[in-house]
């Protein structure tokens, strides 16, 4: 072969040409995604048929729904021989109970406000533009939120928050004058003493000087989605840090800490949540000193938190394992200490990797709160049963469960979307 066959020089650059029709625009999209070949086209047609069947049944049932009736039999009368229709009157009548249970209706603003504050608290995580000062909201919501929900003296959350301040100062003081390990023990101890012994006096003292408070609401009046959201959010907020601690403990070099963490995680994961809830309902009172009135919702919260934190720990451990050791080494080589390295280098990356798993755990936890209906708390499912046991609405099934499912779906779907948004936001190039 002569060398001229192999060499080639372009003398003229090609102009850009228009893409062939049927490649772009809506027609192009449909052709490419729905009817690319015979087999896919058949599947598309079958799917369209089923979707049509479903909507053809569902849409008239919903649009023809009866909103004005005071019982199922009245609904049936109105429908008469006409096409099947939903008896949405039950949701119309019981909407506020499904949402808030027996929470006093003139205080609905309290859970609502708590919910809004919660969004303010997480906004610095989700959005860039938000001022860093919003972290103040993040720090205060854990104290203000419960106070809004349960009411009582304003000084209770203030003194509870002070416990952390006390613990922190004792820790700082001891760490400076003696050593770190002792500080790690004495700091939390001081906080616990404050909460158990001192804070009661301080708060009642302050209350007698400046009485400031909200009407107390008993835990048994919590219900509906408000209860589910309260349980879900405290579970999420508490299991997350606990999960981080457990994951780090599991990877610790200290044998005792490691064994404790592994034991805890494996035990909790090996037990069904409902068992833990029964323990919360019945057994916890055996272990507690006689006469202590320990709120049932609080007990359930503790169990849900422990349960979720074990899963959270494993998800986060997965994220930690995915980090190259070079990251630890670089942090060490720069002179960062263990906690600085964790907080600034390791955790931000490990948590980012684990976002999908973390959010799955959150969603799972939120849906698992419905199990509390089995131990007699009136969450949405509990309320559905209560409503059905009322003679007027006995026999309403689809409308109630459908409504509950829809609201759960909205919550879970927005969590899942936020997590995808967060993942995209944290994406920084290709490593």
């Amino acid at each position: 072969m002569s060398s001229t066959d192999n060499s080639y020089v372009r003398t003229e650059m090609l102009p850009e040409r228009e893409a062939p029709t049927g490649n772009v625009g809506i027609v192009g999209w449909i052709r490419k995604n729905l009817f690319p070949d015979v087999f896919s086209s058949i599947l598309t047609l079958i799917a369209l048929f089923f979707i049509y069947q479903l909507l053809a049944g569902l849409v008239p049932w919903l649009t023809g729904g009866i909103w004005n009736a005071s019982s199922l039999s009245e609904c049936r009368e109105i429908i008469g021989d006409g096409p099947a229709a939903a008896c949405l009157a039950v949701i119309h009548e019981r909407f506020w109970q499904l949402m808030y249970g027996f929470y006093p209706s003139d205080s609905y603003w309290r859970p609502n406000l708590a919910f809004i504050l919660l969004f303010a608290a997480i906004s610095p995580v989700l959005f860039d533009g938000v001022s860093r000062k919003m972290f103040i909201a993040t720090a205060t919501v854990p104290f203000i939120g419960p106070w809004l929900l349960w009411g009582g003296s304003f000084w209770a959350p203030v003194t509870a928050a002070l416990g952390f301040v006390v613990g922190y100062f004792v820790y700082k003081l001891v760490a400076k004058s003696m050593n770190n390990l002792l500080a790690l023990i004495l700091g939390p101890l001081a906080a616990i003493i404050w909460w158990l012994v001192i804070s009661g006096y301080v708060s009642s003292g302050l209350a007698s000087v400046i009485p400031l408070g909200l009407e107390p609401v008993a835990s048994r009046d919590f219900g509906g989605f408000m209860l589910a959201v309260t349980l879900g959010i405290t579970g999420i907020a508490l299991s997350f840090p606990l999960g981080i601690v457990l994951a780090l403990g599991r990877l610790s070099d200290l044998v005792i800490i490691k064994t404790l963490c592994v034991g805890f995680i494996e035990f909790i994961r090996g037990v069904p949540l409902i068992t833990l809830l029964f323990v919360a309902q019945v057994m916890l009172s055996y272990f507690l000193p006689k006469g202590t009135d320990f709120d049932i919702i609080l007990r359930v919260m503790i169990m849900i938190t422990l349960f979720a934190s074990a899963y959270m720990a494993e998800v986060i451990r997965g994220g930690l394992a995915a980090l190259p050791t070079g990251q630890y080494e670089a942090a060490d080589a720069l002179g960062l200490d263990y906690w600085q390295a964790q907080r600034l280098i390791i955790m931000p990356q490990a948590l980012k990797i684990s976002i999908p798993g973390i959010v799955s755990t959150f969603i799972g936890l939120f849906k698992d709160t419905t199990l509390v209906s089995i131990i007699g708390l009136s969450d949405p499912i509990g309320w559905v049963k209560l409503i059905q046991s009322n003679s007027e609405w006995t026999g309403v099934v689809w409308e109630l469960y459908g409504f509950v499912a829809l609201v759960f779906f909205l919550f879970c779907f927005s969590m899942s979307r936020s997590s995808m948004y967060l993942e995209r936001k944290l994406q920084t190039g290709h490593n």
Partner: protein, 262 residues
């Protein structure tokens, strides 16, 4: 390494001063990984301002040796004294020693979730407690020095390998270390990028930085090193001034090694 990198300018060796002050002193140091004896009777004294190149076959313990110097690895016998501080297990403030010793890794190990600027200011702010503004000025100074100030707001994933390695060097320099360790800083790079990184390192050497570099870049060794150390099987087999080392190796192992890489 078949080709040697040609540098644009030549270093005036007479200007490269070495002080009498000892920066690193390693005496009879031994290290084991489990039962595997990686480092055997290492004796090495490095004076302030010295530039040492460590070479040797793969698995000979070069990385392990320099990782012992900032205690990313612990040694079991002998002593290592860095900047007057002996490295031992009851040393409380290892972070203090590490903040005085910069390290550059083969795979850069930049923090991918932080911008270049944040990579450079993180340690000064958290370890040295430098105010942020000052830390940023220092970072900018060193980024200019490694010739990538315009990338400061980008993330490591958006930079080329050579640029990332120069950022890694700048990040170490921001801590104002008295000693710099390099572990094969150019072996994950393309030839073009090798040159830009080596030139940065040469500049650093000219400013009198105490450096220990594990590298097979012989051009670099000839340009700035005042000692080349050859390691094999966990031992220092030969060390000499670079021209002597390359032109007139004494040990058979060294000769064999040099014949393979040159």
């Amino acid at each position: 390494m078949s080709s040697e990198v040609e540098f644009d300018h030549h270093t005036d060796r007479s200007k490269l001063k070495v002080s009498d002050e000892v920066a690193i002193e390693i005496t009879d140091m031994n290290k084991w990984y489990g039962s595997f004896h990686v480092l055997k009777d290492i004796n090495l004294t490095v004076n302030r301002g010295e530039r040492i190149v460590v070479c040797g076959p793969s698995g000979s313990g070069k990385s392990t040796l320099i990782r012992c110097i900032n205690r990313l690895e612990e040694h079991q016998q002998g002593t290592i004294i860095v900047d007057g501080t002996e490295l031992s297990s009851d040393l409380k403030n290892i972070d203090k020693v590490r903040s005085e010793v910069g390290m550059v890794f083969q795979h850069f190990n930049l923090f991918p979730h932080l911008t270049i600027m944040e990579n450079c200011t993180l340690a000064p702010i958290w370890v040295r407690k430098t105010p942020q503004k000052e830390a940023e000025e220092t970072a900018m100074h060193f980024l200019e020095k490694v010739k990538i100030p315009e990338q400061a707001h980008k993330y490591p994933g958006q930079l080329s390998g050579g640029q990332q390695q120069r950022v890694a060097i700048a990040r170490s320099l921001c801590m104002m270390p008295r000693i710099m360790l390099f572990d094969e800083p150019t072996s994950a790079l393309d030839p073009e990028m090798i040159k830009e990184v080596l030139e940065t390192m040469i500049e650093l050497a000219e400013e009198g930085m105490t450096m220990i570099c594990v590298t097979h870049e012989m051009g670099f060794a000839k340009e700035v090193a005042n000692r080349v150390i050859f390691m094999d099987a966990g031992q220092i087999v030969e060390q000499n001034e670079p021209n002597e080392f390359f032109d007139n190796p004494q040990s058979e192992r060294t000769k064999l090694f040099l014949s393979q890489i040159l």
